[in-house]
Symmetry: C2
Subunit: 285 residues, 2 copies
Amino acid sequence: MNLDFNITVIGLGLIGGSYAMALKELNPKNLWGVDIDSETIKSAEKMGIIDKGYTDAAIPLSKSDIVIVSLYPDLTVQFIKNNINNFKRGSVITDTSGIKSKVVNEVSSFLPDYVDFLGGHPMAGKESKGLAFASKDIFKNTNYILTPTEKNKVENIQLIKDIALSIGCTNIVSVDPKTHDKIIAYTSGLPHLIAIALVGCDSFNEKSKSFIGGGFRDTTRIAAINPELWSELFISNKSNVINQIEEFQNNLSVLKSAIENEDICEIEDIFNVARKKRSELNNNE
Amino acid sequence: MNLDFNITVIGLGLIGGSYAMALKELNPKNLWGVDIDSETIKSAEKMGIIDKGYTDAAIPLSKSDIVIVSLYPDLTVQFIKNNINNFKRGSVITDTSGIKSKVVNEVSSFLPDYVDFLGGHPMAGKESKGLAFASKDIFKNTNYILTPTEKNKVENIQLIKDIALSIGCTNIVSVDPKTHDKIIAYTSGLPHLIAIALVGCDSFNEKSKSFIGGGFRDTTRIAAINPELWSELFISNKSNVINQIEEFQNNLSVLKSAIENEDICEIEDIFNVARKKRSELNNNE
């Protein structure tokens, strides 16, 4: 795509750093980075993934057409609030945080009309945080969720969609922030909690490591979680997460009873449904 | 290794077929295959992974030094019982089934002294069954569990260990059958049930598919289960599996309460422990 804009990425961590790397490939007019850590800025400049970096956001924001905020959810809101007078008239701000109702509602409550905020959530991540693990390929073949509201300009929604496609995402979906949080509690929150509860068993010890196959490895990969980020995500999405845990626990209890009762028919029925449902995902793998 | 023996593989499915392929590379004196399906035998012969195949096991068994039974657990016991008079004096039989107490105890109860049975469990598998998905590489870098008893001859245990190493397994561990079943309920049974209960949620639908990232994919990969095999494995290992489900459910309930109470300290503590525990596995990945 023709990206003849000034763009600033706020927060050069895993996602922000990866976003900058991927944007750099699209040759934007200027690509600036903001981070509180001057060493991170130096690294990003040295790696050539931004044209210039700043610890003070005011300078690049005043000239930026597009601002991508890649911070934890509460910090995202706080950053936009603190810089409310620094954004360029007509600019579009998007974010990458994993919770949307809270972020979109809070930002909407203080954002002036001459700036557009579009909630975003690229479904990309890794078990390691920080710029050192960033990669322009992190978005390849992933889902990217947008949570537009009636306040957003159609052309700005289209612009962020085009960018998402250009950095490699294959599926851009738009839903309201509330629906995002409900679904994400299932597709992202619940698997993380499950992996953590599984690794947390006393049976995980030196001896059991010799009994581990690919299944256990895959099921627990995301147990290597970023504690600060995820505790915030879970608490911000509490009621949806609790509901999902309960549905999952009920399913597991049904399986437990079926095994206890040696009810082969019910066990095989549940297994067949699971096999069929999971196989539906394979087309995208 | 020098494999100057006649070997027969019983059951040319995913594991048996893969075992035959891997053994073929080691140039055994003769490598025979047994299957109830004559089409499978024809395929295996055509693929060159066995020297000759049989639907009647009596012929190859009488001349085989090593017999590898790759059938479901109950069928494994039944096969050995039905062929009790066909085994060569001094031969060693091993199996590949995922449950060991039942198989080892039952086989021990009727096996004559002049044949040695050593329980085995290669920690290898796939989401697809049958010879068509077999691969000689399935054992590469995997764990292989042996469950010797005082009845086994030392040289036979060593022989099966050497074979396991030669087909690519990196870690051969010996435990008693009871311990195997306890640990395997955790490292293999529980992750499968979790993946199934997760996929079984109503939230798994057309809409939520756009919200899926690598975490959900990995956590649910093994939900594409073989229903007949696994219902047997779970029922045969009932009490261990139930105990593991309960420990896991308790862990998840603790997490649920911590989120409900917005107890950031407890959440982060649990996450940090999980992160550390899971990271210990990375050296082997």
